[in-house]
């Protein structure tokens, strides 16, 4: 008898232990509404701009809209925090997470068609204001492959914080040596030889991932917007055209001017050592974004160091110079349970109040009149387009997943091999075209 009790006791204990977790998970479900209040779960990536601005924006939204409770998740590794719940069917309602991240969560959802169509949001009025969202946005931002990934005129991602990218350098060093910032690639090579004579490398890059904006700008320069869009939508043979060949050759030549230690440090762990080369006056230019200033703010630097940023040199004298605009995106998962409330919130992030809070933290949205909010280094960086540089936007079009095939790895990752001499440009070009073929077959 005793043993039966024991057995029963142990089984209950075990069962209890196993179900314990399940209960807790249920009550933590973010999309339940308590009373007449609705809960919106906002998940945002904590980037260089910090966490605080999100708390402030949420506070201000809750004040403006008392019917809503916002549950906020902000994390540096947002993917790792929200994906387990998403796999279990618990989706956040609004997510700020850009494409181009290593874990590619946003890309995965695009490929799975798991994003909500938010085209109507841009015709809605900004929450608490009498202006439509689209009238606040700077034109052009919602017509790119980075917001309309399927290239079908429907918008799935809202443009958020943007940042011009370009080549970063030390203005102090250029002044000291009396060097001009090159306007064409020919001037660039001439400068490279001059710098070499003084033991300075012309070029370095943090990791090959930073070549995305660089290469996109280069494609725009060699072939213009039409050519660029064809490349981004995997048109047949596009990577073997003379224009593309020109772009590949420029990178090949640049590889010869690249600081010798670059490849060894071009990984997620040591990339700051490459950035340090610029601060130490050991290399002249690197492709980067405006966040690098904050990222390296505590790093030691050469005397008289001053950040400078330039668009990519033009192909020929008087040609277009491009500075690619990188922007983060905000989107609503198709599986969100409070889509309407989520859309309301999405309009609110473009309100004057929110834009002001974001801008104070250095996060600049593409809304009209934001330039008056800029200060310090940012003033210089964001003025790059006033000084004649053209803006490029959007990346590769979305396709179905192709096993074992990755455009970023092939197009950008291979640059390490070009610099170290393990692969020839011809091999690189051929493999990019092959990947493009495979992805075209998988595009919608």
């Amino acid at each position: 008898m005793k043993k039966k009790v024991l057995l029963a006791g142990m089984s209950t204990l075990l069962a209890f232990g196993l179900t314990g977790c399940g209960d807790k998970a249920d009550s933590a479900n973010g999309s339940k509404s308590s009373g007449d209040k609705q809960t919106v779960h906002v998940a945002a990536l904590e980037s260089a701009y910090g966490k605080d601005m999100w708390n402030k924006v949420i506070d201000s939204y809750e004040k403006a809209n008392p019917k809503v409770d916002v549950e906020l998740t902000v994390d540096k590794n947002l993917e790792e925090v929200i994906s387990p719940n998403m796999k279990a069917g618990k989706y956040p309602d609004v997510v700020l997470l850009a494409t181009g991240r290593k874990l590619a969560l946003t890309e995965t959802l695009i490929k799975d068609k798991a994003l909500e169509d938010i085209t109507d949001v841009f015709d809605m009025k900004v929450y608490g204001e009498d202006v439509k969202v689209k009238d606040k946005l700077v034109p052009g931002f919602t017509e790119t492959l980075a917001t309309n990934p399927y290239n079908d005129g429907k918008t799935y991602m809202a443009p958020m914080f943007y940042s011009p990218t370009g080549l970063f350098y030390n203005t102090g060093l250029m002044k000291e040596k009396g060097w001009e910032v090159p306007k064409t690639w020919d001037e660039m090579w001439a400068l490279g030889d001059k710098a070499k004579a003084e033991g300075i490398s012309l070029f370095t890059y943090p990791t090959t991932g930073y070549f995305d904006a660089f290469f996109y700008s280069l494609l725009l320069e060699v072939g213009g917007p039409d050519f660029y869009n064809k490349a981004m939508t995997y048109e047949d043979g596009i990577w073997e055209t003379p224009e593309a060949t020109k772009a590949f050759e420029i990178v090949e030549k640049l590889a010869k001017y690249t600081a010798p230690t670059t490849v060894a440090n071009a990984n997620d762990k040591d990339f700051t050592k490459n950035q340090q080369l610029i601060l130490d006056n050991k290399a002249l230019f690197m492709p980067n974004g405006t966040w690098v200033v904050g990222e390296m703010k505590d790093a030691p630097r050469a005397d008289g160091y001053e950040w400078g940023m330039t668009a990519l040199p033009a192909i020929k004298d008087g040609g277009d110079q491009y500075a690619f605009t990188f922007f983060e995106q905000m989107w609503i998962p198709a599986q969100s349970k409070n889509k309407d409330a989520a859309k309301d919130f999405l309009t609110f992030v473009y309100s004057d109040k929110a834009a002001d809070i974001f801008a104070k933290a250095g996060a600049i949205q593409p809304v009209e009149g934001i330039s008056s909010e800029l200060s310090g280094d940012n003033k210089l960086f964001y003025s790059i387009y006033d000084n004649g540089a053209k803006a490029g936007m959007g990346g590769f079009a979305a396709t179905d997943a192709v096993e074992g095939v990755n455009m970023a790895d092939t197009l950008f990752g291979t640059i390490n091999s070009i610099v170290s001499g393990d692969k020839t440009v011809k091999e690189w070009q051929t493999s990019v075209e092959k990947v493009s073929d495979q992805l075209r077959a998988a595009s919608k």
Partner: protein
């Protein structure tokens, strides 16, 4: 209740919790890996398409996978060989020889083992740094500039640099395992051997090695499993598989496909291959090293 039934019940009750946990956390997920390898699935949507053995067919033609497989095999072979030889040697020296600072060395050798793999990655990226790194500066000190290398930048040697870090962290652990079995060999064997005129080297090959053979066999399986696992962690933390995929090992390739290339099903197919590979390799190693166990 009769005795036999009572005993059966007792055994059942005692093992049930472990068995249930094993089923839920080991057997079911493993079965799930096998099942998912037959689907095309991004990882999030509800749309799972059954594709049969398609993922395996793609895998067969995937040169990047074969490169990662090659890297993994290289690591398993060199890490096992070097670590085993050195660990046995150090274990023999520290147990059989009267060396000053004996226990000090034991601690020193064991320390890498208690460090997290991320810390080890940090230490070694400092050691391998091309300009300020310990290794290149040491070579410079001895005027061996021509041996200075981009340890993590040169695609031909980057995988060996990873192997070096793995050896460094593994030696202490295996040394302690070998030491414990060497220490339990009766002293009288060595005494008798030295009376017969056997030198240290002879003693090592004729007494120590045969008597710890069973222990070595066990550690061989450990070597295979731990190298597969730790090489993934180290590669993730140190190079991310770069430059240009030259340090990719098969687990990191699987991770990349499953979680960053939206090909979860394909990743699971790689998982199945790795699973079978490590099982098969362990079985082969265990078979070819089978000897009659010597008792003492």
């Amino acid at each position: 209740m009769n005795k036999a039934a009572e005993k059966r019940l007792f055994v059942f009750v005692c093992t049930a919790p472990a068995l249930i946990l094993l089923t839920i956390f080991m057997l079911l997920p493993t079965a799930e890996v096998f099942r998912m390898s037959l689907y095309k699935w991004g990882g999030f949507s509800n749309e799972k398409v059954f594709v049969g053995f398609d993922n395996f067919k793609i895998l067969w033609n995937d040169l990047n996978f074969f490169r990662s497989l090659q890297n993994s095999i290289v690591l398993i072979v060199i890490v096992t060989l070097i670590t085993m030889v050195m660990a046995i040697l150090f274990a023999f020296m520290l147990t059989r020889e009267k060396i000053k600072g004996n226990s000090f060395f034991r601690i020193i050798f064991y320390i890498p083992n208690i460090l997290s793999i991320v810390v080890i990655a940090g230490i070694f990226s400092a050691v391998y740094d091309p300009t300020t790194g310990l290794l290149n500066n040491l070579l410079g000190l001895f005027n061996l500039e021509n041996l200075q290398k981009m340890w993590l930048g040169n695609q031909k040697i980057a995988i060996y640099s990873i192997g070096g870090a793995l050896v460094w962290q593994a030696i202490g652990y295996y040394m302690v395992m070998y030491m414990s079995s060497i220490a339990s060999i009766p002293e009288s064997y060595y005494e008798a051997a030295s009376l017969e005129g056997a030198g240290r080297i002879r003693q090592f090959f004729s007494i120590t090695l045969p008597l710890i053979w069973n222990n070595i066999r066990t550690t061989l399986t450990f070597f295979i499993i731990s190298t597969i696992n730790l090489s993934f962690l180290l590669v993730q933390a140190m190079t991310g598989g770069g430059p240009d995929g030259s340090t990719e090992v098969f687990l990191s390739y699987m991770y990349k496909q499953a979680y960053t290339n939206s090909s979860y099903g394909y990743g699971m197919a790689i998982g199945v291959v790795i699973f079978l590979f490590s099982f098969f390799l362990s079985a082969v190693v265990s078979l070819v090293t089978k000897r009659e166990v010597l008792e003492y």
